[in-house]
């Protein structure tokens, strides 16, 4: 299986001389399900941000889908992002848009026709068990439902890599389990690589996963 993510001696920082991730080397293969854990402030979200190009490597190298994230140009980064699915802890839905419009955002950006967008929206919302909520607005939904919309949006364009930042951080147990199921399915059925940043790995998890842990010094260890 080819590597989807390759980090070699990767260091990340927001300001000089203040390394958050220090000298990390690891790789993630196609179809892997990876949990990244660590104490608060250890740099889990920072590492994830570097995967979608929101933070450039300070030192070392980081390759995502074969693209060097240190040297990547804006246009190439935009193109890469259209092939990623990103899920946030605070959902980051567009509140003035309907659920349907939020879900098809990646398809709209890619220029798909309205018919395809509508069909995909129906399919995805059925998949995340939100059929009938197409014309609702995010703020009319519960937190769990909003996160399911977020996952549907992340799956919309069949991404090769899903990045999820504490996707169940704000949810109750039931809603959390629904989200884990959706991410498991994406990995198992679509062979999508999934990287999840979380402070707690779910106790019941049905697929073989990998576990990377970041310690307080910003070093990344392979636990499993």
């Amino acid at each position: 299986m080819p590597n989807i993510i390759t980090a070699i001696n990767l260091s990340l920082s927001y300001e000089e001389n203040e390394e958050i991730i220090s000298n990390a080397s690891f790789s993630v293969k196609k179809g892997d399900f990876v949990f990244i854990t660590g104490p608060s402030g250890s740099g889990k979200s920072t590492l994830l941000k570097s995967f979608y190009g929101n933070l450039k490597p300070q030192q070392g190298s980081l390759t995502i889908g074969g693209l060097d994230m240190k040297e990547i140009k804006k246009a190439k980064l935009q193109e890469l992002r259209t092939h990623l699915g990103i899920v946030f802890q605070d959902y980051r839905l567009i509140n003035e848009w309907t659920v349907e419009r939020n879900v098809v955002l990646p398809l709209w950006i890619a220029g798909y026709s309205k018919e395809i967008q509508a069909t995909q929206a129906q399919r995805l919302l059925h998949h995340v068990k939100l059929s009938g909520k197409e014309q609702k607005y995010p703020l009319e939904l519960s937190g769990g439902e909003q996160q399911r919309v977020g996952v549907a949006r992340a799956l919309a364009k069949n991404p090769f890599l899903i990045l999820a930042d504490e996707p169940t951080g704000n949810l109750d147990e039931f809603s959390s389990n629904v989200i884990w199921d959706l991410l498991e399915n994406a990995c198992q059925q679509l062979d999508t690589t999934v990287v999840v940043v979380t402070h707690k790995i779910p106790t019941v998890f049905n697929i073989n996963y990998r576990h990377l842990r970041i310690d307080e010094g910003g070093r990344v260890h392979e636990v499993r």
Partner: protein, 269 residues
């Protein structure tokens, strides 16, 4: 209601700026026409030893627009109709030549003095009368009105710009999150700002038409009923069809610059 408020928040300051712009255009056009009529009714008097042509005067000063010789016989007739024919003939021969000179624009006293000096540099010119006292009082009043009106226009435009800056902050608050999310999913700058561009574009067009409608009303209803001669004389110069395009162009430029500034200030988190 929220929808109307959002649009009015940009339309009103835009109309204020466009009113300022259109007032400036109309005022400039009207004052130019008034200045031309003042310049046309003003003439200098030049006394010269020899006969002069317009080219002679123009070599001394390029403000000269028109030269008319005042016939000596008319002066003699006015001074004394009782002169005998031979005396009148002698006076006519010894009298200098008188010229009425019109200038190409409405000059201030300093510039008039400059023209006078240029004429007097020539040995052929013996005297120049500029009638500067009357001219100065007209010019002073005219300049004061012009200055006051321009100050008002500048003030109005500045207020309009401040309101637009305020609206840009509101836009940033309303649209930044959407643009950031779209950026994370790989949307281009144009796609990210498309909603804002569409809204600003429509508001810019509405503002331009609204401003044009105000001027059209002033031109076709208000001025007709008023008794302001200068406005009634220049009614066709107040608002032209061409101005509509100027206003549309200006409002679109202002709106797009505002949108661009908002969009480039939305930073990734």
């Amino acid at each position: 209601m929220k929808f109307v408020k959002q649009h009015l928040a940009i339309i009103l300051p835009m109309v204020a700026i466009l009113l300022g712009l259109e007032f400036f255009i109309v005022f400039d056009r009207s004052t130019k026409s008034y200045e031309a009529s003042l310049a046309n009714s003003y003439a200098m008097l030049v006394v010269a030893k020899e006969e002069m042509s317009i080219d002679d005067f123009r070599t001394w000063d390029d403000h000269v627009f028109k030269v008319a010789e005042i016939e000596k016989s008319k002066i003699i007739n006015r001074v004394g109709a009782s002169f005998q024919a031979t005396n009148a003939q002698n006076i006519n021969e010894k009298m200098p030549n008188f010229y009425s000179i019109k200038l190409d624009s409405y000059l201030n006293n300093k510039e008039l003095e400059e023209v006078k000096k240029n004429f007097l540099k020539s040995d052929k010119v013996t005297r120049v009368e500029t009638f500067d006292t009357l001219h100065q009082s007209n010019y002073g009043l005219f300049s004061f009105i012009k200055f006051s009106f321009r100050t008002f226009i500048v003030f109005m435009t500045i207020i309009g710009f401040f309101l637009i800056l305020k609206q840009m902050e509101v836009w940033n608050y309303l649209h930044a999150e959407r643009m950031k999310v779209m950026d994370i999913f790989g949307a281009s700058l144009f796609l990210r700002s498309k909603v804002l561009i569409n809204m600003a574009f429509i508001d810019a067009i509405i503002s331009a038409f609204l401003t044009s409608a105000i001027f059209y009303f002033i031109q076709n209803r208000w001025i007709e009923g008023s008794n302001i001669a200068i406005l009634q004389d220049n009614i066709d110069k107040l608002f032209t069809f061409h101005d509509l395009f100027t206003l549309i162009f200006a409002s679109i430029i202002i709106a797009m610059v505002a949108v661009f500034l908002v969009v480039i200030n939305v930073k990734e988190e």
